[in-house]
């Protein structure tokens, strides 16, 4: 075992200060580099796959496709009518899992104001597609309420994980909504229907397209 006791083992104080200075300089250099070239956001960003209504988009874990969105002040959810101070937006989604059973657990609408309106797994509206078996198309609705002035230009986002989208595919689907759609939906449109999820072909006969717009 070495010893530093006594005058022979002690480093000169200039050497000690030099070591401390080198360590501080290394830390400062590292900080300056990460501050000047921020790459963390790009490294951790999801792989965004753009699409539009009626256009299938291929994700790592599933193929997904959004149908025609519908909207109204009221939502018919399993026989219960829910009234929104804004607008209910319902988007039918068709998904086919790839490789293994998948449960898409994240759906949100990014309004024209940039705000994310997340469809929870339960509560008013939401998105609860259940598990999709590989190769078996499954259909589910996304139902979200949002302010009327955020609807035109809104996009639907879909992903596998409810919270963590880092370094994984995320579908970004332009819903093609206009101000005319909003005015029609807020001007006495009948309630829009929110269907339970089911495998394609077994979906309840209720029409999710509301007023057909």
């Amino acid at each position: 075992m070495s010893t530093t006791s006594g005058s022979g083992g002690a480093r000169p104080w200039t050497q000690r200060i030099g070591v401390v200075a080198l360590v501080l300089a290394a830390l400062a250099t590292g900080r300056a580099i990460t501050h000047s070239f921020p790459v963390e956001g790009r490294i951790e960003a999801p792989f965004v796959r753009d699409s539009a209504v009626g256009e299938p988009v291929r994700l790592r874990y599933a193929d997904v496709e959004a149908g025609e969105p519908a909207g109204a002040r009221e939502l018919d959810a399993g026989g219960t009518t829910l009234t929104s101070p804004g607008v209910w937006l319902v988007v039918p989604v068709r998904m086919t899992a790839r490789g293994e059973p998948r449960t898409l657990a994240y759906a949100a609408v990014r309004g024209s104001d940039g705000t994310l309106y997340v469809a929870g797994g339960f509560g008013r509206g939401g998105f609860a597609p259940g598990t999709a078996q590989p190769g078996v198309p499954r259909e589910a609705d996304v139902a979200v309420e949002l302010p009327a002035d955020a609807v035109a230009g809104a996009h639907l986002l879909l992903a596998l994980d409810p919270d963590d989208h880092r370094r994984d595919d995320l579908a970004d689907i332009d819903l093609g909504l206009t101000q005319a759609d909003v005015e029609r939906w807020t001007d006495g449109a009948p309630p829009v229907t929110f269907r339970d999820a089911a495998d394609a072909g077994a979906t309840a006969s209720a029409d999710a397209s509301g007023d057909g717009s």
Binding site: T83, T115, P147
Partner: protein, 234 residues
């Protein structure tokens, strides 16, 4: 434990040989001086961050009925507080009644809020006979249900930018007379990362306003409960 004299001498010798004037001076000082110096340095640091500013006066801002209150992530406007034995489709437990506080709530943040966020944002204090236990570490009892007046659904999630008119329901022991007034606390939170986990959420509950509201019985007769609650001694 005090430094033995032999060690102290060796320490002084090493400081002398190192040539450090600062080390020699420090070793020459009695311990009492070092303590005073440390205390002065500590005060200087705290002063730099406002530690010597006058302490805030105790007490909370009062809130009036109809006056919006910012309580992150929500803006709340209290309206009235009533008691009722039961509501259609929403019955309290056997032998209990509802204390109902109506309010308009808007999620003013940029993200969807949860039912738990909403529950944590408002509570009653000092009311005898509330069935729910107080929120942990406080004497504030949170609501049992939060229903939209428009359709009687539980408000969850709470989307940003929408003005929801809802009722906070508190279950109360009906064997006791209903309170003549209740004290409402509005609680704000801060959106930040957890210090333990990677989670980002609404933390740090802080009471931002308080109001004492008069209580009335809810009745169906037209207009009988209009203005049922008035601002008390908030």
């Amino acid at each position: 434990m005090p430094t033995p004299p032999a060690d102290r001498r060796a320490l002084r010798e090493r400081a002398r040989r190192s040539g450090s004037v600062v080390a020699q001076r420090l070793l020459d000082q009695p311990l009492r001086n070092l303590g005073v110096g440390g205390a002065v340095a500590l005060l200087a640091v705290t002063a730099a961050f406002g530690g010597l500013e006058p302490a805030a006066e105790p007490g909370l801002p009062a809130v009036a009925v109809g006056e919006p209150v910012e309580a992150g992530p929500f803006e709340l406007t209290l309206e009235k507080v009533l008691w009722v034995d039961e509501l259609p489709g929403v019955k309290p437990g056997e032998g209990n009644r509802w204390l109902a506080l109506t309010a308009t709530v808007t999620n003013t943040s940029e993200r969807t809020a949860t039912s738990a966020n909403l529950r944590n944002t408002l509570g009653l204090t000092g009311v005898e006979g509330l069935v729910e236990p107080p929120d942990a570490g406080t004497d504030r009892v949170l609501s049992s249900r939060r229903l939209l007046l428009a359709d009687a659904s539980d408000l969850s999630p709470v989307q940003p930018g929408l003005d929801y008119e809802l009722v906070f329901l508190f279950e109360h022991d009906a064997s006791l007379p209903p309170p003549e007034e209740v004290t409402v606390q509005v609680v704000g939170h801060t959106w930040r990362s957890s210090t333990i986990t990677p989670d980002v959420a609404w933390f740090d509950p802080t009471v931002v306003a308080e109001a004492t509201l008069a209580m009335r019985e809810a009745v169906d007769e037209g207009g009988a409960d209009e203005g049922g609650a008035e601002e008390g001694d908030a």
